[in-house]
Each structure stands twice: as C-alpha cells, then as structure tokens.
C-alpha cells in the first residue's frame, strides 16, 4: 500500500511511514574537504519493509557505505532523517546490525570463533537478564546455520576468508537483528566462495526471515539475492530507479542466472548505469 506514497512525501508527513520497518527520508550528506563541500548523498528517500531483502546497487565510491553508516547511526546526515518502526532515530539502533566488508578487521582476533559469535549476546547480557546457557545455545545455533560449528574453538584468523565472513554473519544473526545491513560483504571473496555464501545467505534468510539491506556494486548479485533493488547514480548518490525482482524462490545459481527475466533485468540495469555515467 504505502509503496505508492514512498519517497515523495518528505519528512514532514509521518503517516505513510508507519507501516514500513525503515524509512530513509530525504537524506543528504555533505563532507567538508579543503574548504569546500562535496556532496556524497543527495536527497535520498526509500523504504524497507519487514522481512524484505533489498539491495542497493551503485558504482564504487558513490556513497553506499556512507548511506549505511547514516542508517546505522554511526554517522549523522547533513539533512533528512531515518525513521525506524515509525520513530525518528537519533542514535545507534539496538535492533540493527551492520556487517562490514572487511571481516578480518571486524572480527576480534583474541576471541575464538564461538566467542566472536557470542560478542553481541555477551553485551546484551549486561543489560537484560540473559542466561549464560541461552547465550551459548543461541551462538551455537547460528554458528551451525553457517556450517561452522565444528570450528567453534578455532581462532578466527585460522580460518579462510570465506569462513571468516561466515563467522561475522553468524555473529550478526545471533543478535536476531530486526534489520541487517550488509556492506558489500562478499566483495573481497573469490567467485566460487562468493556464490556459496550467496546461497547460504538466502537459505538462512528464508529460515529466519530477518530483514536484510544488502549493498553491492555487483548487479547480478543484487538481482540474484533480492526482492527489490534500488539503483543509485554515481556520486552524489541519488536514486535512479527502484525495481521489484519477481524471480521465483528458492533461487538457484544456474537456473535463476539463466532465467530470461534475470537476463533482461541485468541488461536493463546495466544500461541504466552506463547511461548515468
């Protein structure tokens, strides 16, 4: 319903946003560099629905990471606001986890695999009454979901890159976030590992149905994974197009990627991005 109204209302009217999990309302971000402002993001507005898998596709350096930093609350926008479950957000969201591309820098090398997965839960325990047994169980559940339970007592740096990113995914999922932001999570992996992780992510998403906002510069990856893709222009980022991907699920690396619908979507988006450059 509210998709009809999306984007165009600006941030003064709250009503259309109430149904959405997340509304990005008229976000702009300028950076001050050597006495002049450069605009990284220019009045972006879109919404993310509960349980949706949305991808943001845009060329490298177009401000995708900046956008995620703003949504997660690590960075303040110059203009506009983020509305989460109908409420304006001013700080870090408790129900939101941001997964970084650089797994080797975001995992804690002094903690073992299971202990890394526990990290978010251990912090939660300080605030809500969360029993140690539950923490262990929950960490194991999600480590099992990414297929790494047998490596629980390894250190993260003893694992391969793909496995490390899976540990990071398990750590994010273990907190059961209501919104999972992923910043080009498979960007530094080789093609085969990447395909494996894409499928594993889809499986996990179908199992636990956490809302995912996935940022990538890979058009095919965006189409393959998502319900909807948002295509950004080169810097300063603006929305060029929003497309619904109605390819059947579960998706399959071979069938989905050779589906005529997939191919025509890929070509359309490719041309769009070429035109905008």
């Amino acid at each position: 319903m509210n998709r009809l109204f999306s984007g165009t209302f600006g941030f003064f009217s709250m009503a259309p946003y109430i149904m959405s999990l997340l509304s990005v309302a008229n976000i702009s971000k300028d950076f001050l560099s050597s006495d002049q402002y450069t605009s990284a993001i220019k009045s972006l507005s879109f919404e993310v629905e509960e349980q949706e898998f949305v991808s943001i596709i845009g060329p490298s350096g177009c401000g995708k990471t900046t956008l995620l930093m703003i949504i997660s609350g690590l960075m303040k926008p110059t203009f506009g606001e983020i509305i989460f479950r109908g409420e304006k957000v001013n700080s870090l969201l408790p129900g939101l986890i941001l997964l970084f591309q650089d797994y080797s820098r975001s995992l804690m090398p002094w903690r073992t695999v299971i202990s890394n997965v526990r990290y978010g839960l251990d912090l939660k325990r300080q605030r809500i009454n969360f029993k140690a047994k539950n923490i262990e169980k929950q960490a194991e559940k999600y480590l099992d979901a990414v297929g790494l339970l047998e490596f629980r007592n390894h250190y993260t740096w003893q694992l391969s890159g793909g496995m490390q990113q899976r540990v990071a995914i398990a750590r994010a999922l273990a907190c059961e976030p209501s919104l999972l932001l992923m910043d080009e999570p498979f960007g530094s992996l080789d093609a085969q590992t990447r395909a494996e992780l894409e499928d594993q992510l889809l499986q996990i998403w179908e199992q636990f149905r956490q809302t995912i906002m996935f940022v990538t510069h890979d058009i095919e990856e965006g189409i393959y994974l998502s319900d909807r893709v948002i295509i950004l222009t080169p810097s300063p980022a603006e929305i060029q197009q929003e497309l619904y991907i109605d390819l059947p699920r579960p998706r399959n690396q071979l069938e989905t990627r050779s589906d005529p619908g997939f191919l025509s979507l890929r070509n359309d988006i490719h041309q769009m991005i070429l035109k905008s450059e």
Binding site: I97, S106, W110, L123
Partner: protein, 263 residues
C-alpha cells in the same frame, strides 16, 4: 660426520659451541699470558670467585636489594605507564594536552636527571626506584598510546554497532587490541630497568649488584668483578626469557596471528 655438521650449523647447539669456544680462547689467552692475567683472569678463576661469592651469600644479598629496586620501579612504571597510556591514547583532548610534554621528557637521557633526583630524594632506595621507574615508564607509555590509537576503526565501529557502551568498548576491545603493543613496551622496559638499576647503584649508595661490581674493581678484587658481570648477564638473560615465555603464553593469539601474516 654429516650429522655432526648438521648439529653444529642447524641447531641451537651450534650457538652454545660458539660460547664455549670463546670462553676457551679467553682461558688459553690468559693462561699463556697473551692478555694480562691480572686484568683479565682465567675463566676458571672467575668461576671459582663466582662460586665463592655465591656460597658466602654476598652476591645474593646484593641481588636481593637490586631485584627489589628493579621490580618495584618496573612495577610502578608498568601500572602508571599502562593506565596513563590508555587514557592518553583514548582521549584526543588528553593526547593533545600531554603530547608535547611526553616528547620533551622522553628523549631526556636518564643519566641527566640522576643529579636532580639525588638532590630531591637523596641516595637511598627512593632515588633508585624513582630512576628505574622513570626510565622504564616512557617505552611502556608510548607503546600503550600507539597501541590504543592504532586500534582499527572497523573494530571500534563493530563494537558500537553491537551496542557496546564506551566502557565496554574500552575494556572489551581497545585494551585487548592494544595489548600486543603494551606487551612490547613492557618487554623493552624490563631490559632498561635492569640497566638503570645497575647504573644508579654504581653512582650512589653502598648496596646492590651495581655497587658490588664497582666496589670489587676499586678494591682490586678483579675475579669477583668479572663474577658480578657474568652473573648480571645470566640474570638479564633469565628475566628476558621468563618474560618471553609468559608473553607467548598470554598472547598466544597474537603470536599465531602474526606468524600467519608473515607466511
């Protein structure tokens, strides 16, 4: 034959063989008066002197005093250096306020401040402990600051995303991530603390291993002087060895991580 060559050139035993050879050369040089046997006595004479100062309890008495000064000074510098370093590294404001002072004090040779400290604290234990603490404070402080400031932004942002408060971030991430640097500073300083203890004891007072060596030289107990020097080499080696062992145990994750990166 091939096996012997392998043991000599490819194992630790080769190095020990080198030491034995050098000591033999010394022994022979002194025996055949190639060097002056009074100023450079035979190794066997030095060892006898060493045994006798050990069995008489004289050496241990001096070491008890010296090691007390050394470890008290070192302990103080570690506690102060780490806690100040964590604060200075964490807070940009405190860093900006203190950095010039640190850069001014750090390169000052410790020997230059000894007269000042003698003037203020006398020539007793306080002076020596203070000087040891002063000298070993700076490497620990500077390494701790570098460690804290060098903590990866991604790691900090990750912790904040997971909801860590400032204190949780500090305790659970910053200190851990900086710990390899902190330990490096502590390793540098433990060597410095032994050196400075000995120097301080030579300059003033009448106890400690530094005093023992200087006193032996002045009273022409040359073999005892060498015995003191050799004993210090052994103590220095052992202290470092114990430290490295403890470090590889406590910081096992870091050892594994860095040895993986080197490959």
């Amino acid at each position: 034959m091939g096996k012997l060559a392998h043991i000599t050139f490819h194992t630790r035993w080769g190095g020990i063989l080198t030491i034995i050879s050098l000591l033999t050369l010394w022994e022979l040089g002194s025996t055949f008066k190639i060097v002056h046997p009074v100023y450079i006595p035979r190794i066997s004479v030095i060892l006898q002197a060493l045994l006798s100062v050990i069995s008489s309890g004289e050496l241990l008495l001096h070491y008890k005093v010296s090691l007390f000064r050394m470890f008290t000074g070192y302990g103080l510098s570690a506690v102060l250096g780490i806690s100040c370093g964590l604060i200075i590294g964490y807070s940009r404001v405190v860093f900006n306020l203190t950095e010039p002072v640190i850069e001014f004090c750090r390169p000052t040779p410790v020997s230059a401040i000894i007269p000042v400290v003698i003037l203020l604290l006398g020539i007793g234990n306080e002076m020596k402990i203070f000087i040891v603490a002063w000298a070993s404070f700076w490497p620990i402080l500077v390494n701790t600051i570098d460690g804290v400031r060098g903590v990866d932004r991604t790691l900090i942002e990750t912790a904040r995303i997971f909801g860590a408060t400032s204190w949780e971030l500090f305790r659970g991430v910053i200190i851990q991530a900086a710990s390899p640097h902190i330990v490096t500073g502590m390793r540098v300083s433990i060597a410095i603390s032994l050196i400075v203890t000995v120097i301080a004891e030579m300059l003033a007072g009448n106890s400690g291993i530094g005093f023992f060596v200087l006193d032996a030289e002045r009273t022409f107990r040359i073999p005892e002087m060498y015995a003191g020097v050799f004993s210090m080499a052994a103590v220095g080696y052992s202290v470092n060895r114990v430290f490295v062992l403890a470090e590889s145990h406590i910081m096992a994750w870091h050892k594994g991580l860095t040895s993986k990166e080197e490959r």
